[in-house]
């Protein structure tokens, strides 16, 4: 990573960029995809071999299915997802005015179920919630991430950043120790990436299923032997928001495949 460090140093002395210390400059940001071997990349690239596409198809069916006591489908309000949902996931988590805080995409889906479909919330990591999230996020494939631009979201981005920098757990490591300072190195033989959240929900071969960004973050917390934040907790949403803002400009890949 000599290249980007050199660039970082060079820009520091010339342009004094708005980057905070330790942060990865925009032109050095890389998706986890670029750390994978050719076969895993090929699996992601080809929709017929990408196992995440099965979830996207399930999500498409759920999109059109009437649900809840309102007996309304997502499509009844939003129409064709190909246009109405295009670029939406690239802006999530997004600030919700009535709640006064950011909500993640899966939380937005459950808010729609409660408010507009009068349906029970789908549990975190349930197949249906992952399928709907994957279907909606898939409509943003190739679109650059812009989450966190909303001025009202800024305090939550800052909260997420503080969590990212905070050492925690029995191993006393922060996210930044691995994903800012040591990407491209190996943790017991496995490449460490920049931890960019470009492909969620994504299919992880190790999980043998699709999983959310929250699930991934909880694994990293368990990895440092910290008490992982609960699904849906404000801390996890803030971390997701920070990660998305840190990935600004990278293209969405949902459903990505990772080892």
């Amino acid at each position: 990573m000599i290249s980007w460090r050199a660039i970082a140093v060079a820009t520091l002395f010339t342009a004094a960029p708005a980057l905070l210390a330790g942060e990865i400059p925009p032109d050095a940001r890389r998706s986890g995809y670029t750390f994978m071997g050719p076969d895993t990349r090929a699996m992601q690239d080809d929709d017929t071999t990408n196992p995440g596409m099965l979830f996207v198809l399930d999500g498409e069916a759920l999109w059109a299915k009437k649900t809840g006591s309102a007996s309304r489908a997502c499509a009844d309000c939003h129409g064709d997802a190909r246009s109405s949902m295009k670029g939406v996931a690239a802006r999530y988590p997004s600030f919700d005015k009535s709640l006064g805080r950011p909500v993640a995409l899966d939380q937005r889906i459950n808010l729609c179920r409660a408010d507009h479909q009068q349906a029970a919330p789908l549990p975190y990591e349930s197949r249906d919630l992952l399928a709907l999230s994957a279907f909606v996020a898939h409509q943003s494939r190739g679109i650059p991430i812009t989450a966190g631009d909303d001025p009202q979201a800024k305090p939550f981005v800052a909260q997420g950043r503080a969590l990212f920098m905070q050492r925690e757990g029995q191993l006393n490591l922060a996210c930044t120790n691995c994903h800012d300072d040591n990407f491209d190195k190996r943790l017991a033989g496995a490449p460490i990436t920049q931890g960019q959240p470009t492909g969620y929900p994504l299919y992880r071969l190790e999980w043998q299923t699709l999983g959310s960004l929250a699930r991934r973050l909880r694994s990293c917390m368990t990895g440092v032997r910290a008490q992982a934040y609960d699904y849906g907790s404000p801390e996890l949403v803030a971390l997701e928001l920070y990660l998305m803002s840190r990935a600004r400009g990278l293209a969405m890949e949902t459903p990505a495949v990772r080892p």
Binding site: G37, N172, G189, E206
Partner: protein, 209 residues
């Protein structure tokens, strides 16, 4: 998904740590019984097979019948009785001259510990371990560590590496305070027992070119 298609043949085979990072490596491979045991017996852990049982442990084995005792115990734990579980040691300059246990460690056991993923050394370090393909490169190769450092220095390095470098990413292996949000299964106890530290120190001292 068949397991057979999990990995690119073109890249190094199953990297267990990265893949299992979080869900596998640091926790799942420690069986629940072992975790419970380790928690009850903080100064040592079953991996070393040597431990002094403390009165508290006898108590906790009767917990099902004495609910009040459990509450008292957890209050005591919460009140910070935890730190007392660590054996005290004396730092002299950049080292701890005396064995934490009062006995020399066992180098063979130390080698096995360094290679065990749950000990976590091998996540970051590499070393002269031809049988292990999955070694880390976040930290210096351990080859020759016995030339570079004395036994007393190695002991302090393991107990609290931040004494050498306050910014280090190397965890303090014999420390249970000053940490944030430690997982329920690990709270209040050091990563390694005193006996395990001595075993690893004895092994590292043998790493001479």
């Amino acid at each position: 998904m068949e397991r057979a298609c999990r990995h690119d043949p073109s890249v190094p085979p199953p990297p267990p740590a990265g893949e299992g990072w979080g869900e596998d490596v640091s926790t799942a491979k420690t069986p629940p019984e072992e975790r419970t045991l380790t928690r009850r017996c903080a100064p040592t852990s079953p991996a070393s097979g040597r431990g002094k049982w403390r009165p508290r442990l006898d108590l906790s084995s009767h917990i099902p019948s004495i609910v009040a005792a459990v509450i008292a115990l957890s209050l005591a734990l919460a009140a910070g009785a935890r730190a007392e579980e660590l054996l005290s040691y004396t730092i002299v300059s950049d080292s701890i001259p005396a064995s934490l246990t009062g006995f020399p460690g066992d180098a063979a056991r130390g080698r096995a510990l360094v290679l065990a993923r749950t000990t976590t050394c091998i996540l970051c370090h590499s070393g002269p371990f031809p049988e292990t393909r999955f070694q880390g490169d976040l930290a210096p190769d351990l080859t020759g560590a016995g030339n570079r450092w004395s036994v007393s220095q190695l002991r302090l390095r393991l107990v609290d590496a931040s004494r050498f470098n306050p910014q280090t990413i190397m965890p303090s292996y014999y420390r249970a305070d000053g940490l944030v949000r430690v997982g329920r299964n690990f709270a209040g106890k050091p990563i390694l027992s005193a006996a395990e530290i001595e075993d690893i120190v004895a092994f590292l001292a043998t790493l001479r070119d």
